[in-house]
C-alpha cells in the first residue's frame, strides 16, 4: 500500500496457510494501532523516497 496499492489479493499464501488472509487482516490492524494510523487509506502511496 505504501508503494501505491489500494487493496491487495492473497493467493499462494492460502495454499500454505488457509488462515493467512485472517492473519494478515489482524496483522494490519495491529500495525495500524502500533503506528497510530486511524484509516488504512492513509497508507496508500505513503512512501517517502
Amino acid at each position: 500500500m505504501l508503494a501505491g496499492a489500494t487493496a491487495v489479493a492473497v493467493g499462494t499464501a492460502n495454499f500454505v496457510n488457509p488462515y493467512s488472509t485472517i492473519d494478515i487482516i489482524n496483522g494490519i490492524e495491529s500495525f495500524m494501532e502500533k503506528n497510530n494510523i486511524i484509516d488504512v487509506k492513509e497508507l496508500i502511496g505513503g512512501l517517502r523516497c
Binding site: 505504501l2 508503494a3 500495525f31 503506528n35 505513503g46 512512501l47 517517502r48 523516497c49
Partner: protein, 325 residues
C-alpha cells in the same frame, strides 16, 4: 584425456567447457559485481581462484564512477536487491592495477563493461585490446541501476544491435552479451545481440525490484529501487535460458552461440538444471555472499551427479530437458 579417480575404478567425468573460444576447467564462473576485481577474494581462507572456470570482474565504465547512495543492498525473502550504480575506478585504472595481479591465476578473466553511450562502450573495448590477461569481454547492456544508458540499450533490439556491432568492430576478444529479464521478449534482444556480433550470451541480469521499510515508510535502498538476485529469480532465469536456447537451436544455423546461465545458483543440482534448460556454463553470484557451500564442494557434487546420471561429459546434457507433450 580423462583422469581416473585414485583408488576407484571409474572415470572422472569431464567438466571442461568452452565458451566462444574461452576454455574453462569447469562450467562455473563468478558473476560480475559479486567478486570485486578478484584481489579481495585472495584473502578469503580456503578460496582458490583456480577452482572456478572463469571470473567476471566488476562492471567497469570508461571513467571512474562514484555509484549510488547507501544502503546499496537490501535483504528480502530468498534474495537480495542491490543498487550499486556501477561504482568502479574506470577502465584505465582496472587495466593498469588489477589485470596484472590476476595473470598469476590459471582461471580465465572476463572483463564486464558498461557505458552510458555507444561511443563509450566502443572506447572501452578499444582500450582492452592488446592487454595481456583479459580472456573475454562481457557487455552489460542491462544494468537497472543507472539513470541513462545501460538499461535502455537492452530494451530495444535496434539499440542492442547497434551497440554490439560497434563493440564488435573494436575487438577480437570473445564477446559475451549479458541480457536483462526486464523486457517483454528476451529472444528479440538475444537475436539482435547475435546479429550485432555476440559470441555468447549470459542471462539473466537482476530483476527490477523495490523494498519498503514500513516503519520509516522509506525504500530500503538509497537509490529507492534496484535489481533482485538470488534463489528467488532462479526459475525465471531457467525459463529465459530455455526460451533463448530454443530460439538459437532452431533459427541460428551458421553459428553456435553458447549460453551462460545466471540467477540464484547455489548447488550442483541448480547448475545441472540450467544446463538441461540449455546453458553451456553458469555464473554464481549472490550465493558466494551466503557461503552455504564452497565452489570446490559444488564441483565435486557435479561430478557425482554426472556419475549418477551415467554421463561422462557435462556438455552432453546441454538442452537435454525432456519436455512433456
Amino acid at each position: 584425456m580423462q583422469k581416473k579417480l585414485p583408488g576407484i575404478n571409474i572415470e572422472k567425468p569431464d567438466l571442461s567447457v568452452e565458451i566462444a573460444g574461452i576454455k574453462m576447467n569447469n562450467p562455473i564462473m563468478i558473476a560480475s559485481g559479486t567478486f570485486g576485481y578478484g584481489t579481495e577474494f585472495s584473502e578469503v581462507e580456503g578460496f582458490s581462484h583456480d577452482e572456478v572456470g572463469a571470473i567476471v570482474l566488476k562492471g567497469t565504465t570508461l571513467n571512474k564512477t562514484r555509484g549510488n547512495p547507501i544502503p546499496r543492498i537490501a535483504e528480502v525473502d530468498c534474495g537480495i536487491i542491490n543498487s550499486i550504480g556501477l561504482q568502479n575506478p574506470g577502465i584505465d585504472f582496472v587495466l593498469k592495477n588489477y589485470i596484472p595481479k590476476l595473470r598469476q591465476y590459471k582461471t580465465k578473466i572476463i572483463l564486464n563493461i558498461a557505458g552510458y553511450s555507444e561511443d563509450e562502450y566502443k572506447e572501452i573495448a578499444k582500450r582492452i585490446n592488446d592487454v595481456n590477461g583479459v580472456h573475454g569481454i562481457e557487455v552489460n547492456i542491462s544494468c537497472p541501476n543507472i539513470k541513462e544508458g545501460g538499461m535502455q540499450f537492452c530494451l530495444d533490439p535496434k539499440m542492442t544491435f547497434r551497440v554490439i556491432e560497434k563493440i564488435r568492430g573494436e575487438t577480437k576478444l570473445p564477446l559475451i552479451v549479458k541480457l536483462s529479464p526486464n523486457v517483454t521478449d528476451i529472444v528479440q534482444i538475444a537475436k539482435a545481440a547475435i546479429e550485432g556480433g555476440a559470441d555468447a550470451l549470459s542471462l539473466i541480469n537482476t530483476v527490477t525490484a523495490m523494498a519498503i521499510d514500513t516503519k520509516t515508510k522509506r525504500p530500503k535502498l538509497g537509490a529507492n529501487f534496484g535489481g533482485l538476485s538470488g534463489p528467488a529469480i532462479k526459475p525465471i532465469a531457467i525459463h529465459k535460458i530455455f526460451q533463448t536456447y530454443q530460439y538459437i537451436s532452431q533459427y541460428v544455423k551458421d553459428k553456435k552461440i553458447p549460453l551462460i546461465g545466471i540467477g540464484g545458483i547455489e548447488s550442483a543440482d541448480d547448475i545441472i538444471e540450467f544446463i538441461l534448460a540449455g546453458a553451456n556454463a553458469v555464473q554464481i553470484g549472490t550465493s558466494t555472499m551466503i557461503y552455504k557451500t564452497t565452489i570446490e564442494q559444488i564441483i565435486s557434487d557435479i561430478a557425482n551427479r554426472l556419475s549418477e546420471l551415467n554421463e561422462k561429459k557435462i556438455n552432453n546434457l546441454v538442452g537435454k530437458v525432456i519436455l512433456n507433450t
